[in-house]
Amino acid sequence: MKSRFNNVKIKGIVTVLPQNRIDIDDEIGYFDNNQKKLDRAKKMVGFGSRYVVSENMTVVDMAQEAAEILIEELKEDKNTIDTLILVTQSPDYLYPASSCILHGRLGLGENCAAFDVGLGCSGYVYGLWLAHSLVSSGASKKVLLLAGDDASTHSCRENRISNPLFGDAASATLIEHTDEENTAYFVMGTRGSGWDKIVAPATGRRLPVREDISGLEITDNSGNKWHLYDEILKGIDVFNFTMEVAPQNMLEALEYSGKSIDDIDYFSIHQANKQIVDTIIAKSGIPKEKTTSEVFSKYGNNSTNSVATVVCDKLKDKTSNYIMLEAFGVGLSWGNAIVNISELNNLGIRFMKDKNLPSREDMIENWIKHFKGE
């Protein structure tokens, strides 16, 4: 589906990463302690460094930090934010929506709609699309878009297939009305028949974690350990899906906007891994100097936040007009945005200090008290 919106601007953005850095050179165990294997993986997939949440830290904590930085540094009046959207596939609870928890933590006014959007890799573009629609229609005056994921926790650390790909991140973006026409273009799509190509099976209501699952550990032919609540990613199928959909999506969005590759100052492509991004770049014919596959090597695959991580890392302190965001993945779902960021306050990447968060034991004890009515 295609849509365009006028009189909306993206006022500010910041991405927050946890400070806990993991370097692939320290993870040679993933490669049977074989330096040659590690070097091949670095060259082919682009493994480098990534930043992961510490124990007990979640997307909500990172998103709160990002929102607080953005509100403070843009000197926003909290009471003027009338919509809060959180895009994540890793909420704190099935209910209430984590956007409501964030609304409370941030101390926003009650004259404010808050809701979650449950998407991964394509999610940031969906959030941006919703925010544009709300502001352009007049339904909302100012949208705080929070987005993030903690995909490093979606498999166990010993799992060499999934775990080394992912880093964690969250962002805050402010979207509001402008008198300028400032047209934004979006082209989105879904292939629901491929829902099981990227899935974490025992994480919702269909297959709740009970005793028969909680201790279950599966070992595959390569010796990787899996649990039913881990993420399954069917690499070759997802690669083929991506190559079929992403370059085409980019082309369609260019056509729809009436713009050429020359009119776009930068292309932010979801950093699934370096190999995937490089293949998309080659197939779509965009110039290498206007895009990157290196952000994957710096921060890993940031899932929901990936395209925002690229914007914050590569475009801070640069003047850009129209840029393209191309995001694709779990769903299967994809989205493309062509937006003008000439008025964007790009606060870049910030690192978050570990907070004193309640431990697992504290939380369990606390909830027991609640159930007992104490």
């Binding site: 091949r40 082919m44 070759i236 690669f239």
Partner: protein, 72 residues
């Protein structure tokens, strides 16, 4: 792409020091692992517009089999 160039590209994909030939058994190569299989999928897609599925690898035994998929 001619067959010589194809072999050079396979050398790069496998990143192996062994001298490659079209009829050698891929399973004898330590480097024929999930990394180089993904790189093969990407190589066939980018250069020949050919899609490879997971099950295709059951019947790919030699570099000749990969060349056949590429149509060269």
């Amino acid at each position: 792409m001619d067959r010589n160039e194809f072999l050079t590209q396979m050398q790069d994909i496998l990143q192996t020091d062994e001298e490659l030939s079209f009829d050698m058994n891929l399973d004898d190569l330590e480097e024929w692992d999930s990394l180089s299989k993904m790189a093969t999928v990407a190589f066939l897609d980018s250069n020949f517009g050919v899609k490879t599925t997971f099950s295709d690898f059951e019947s790919i035994k030699t570099i000749e089999d990969i060349a056949k998929k590429a149509g060269i």
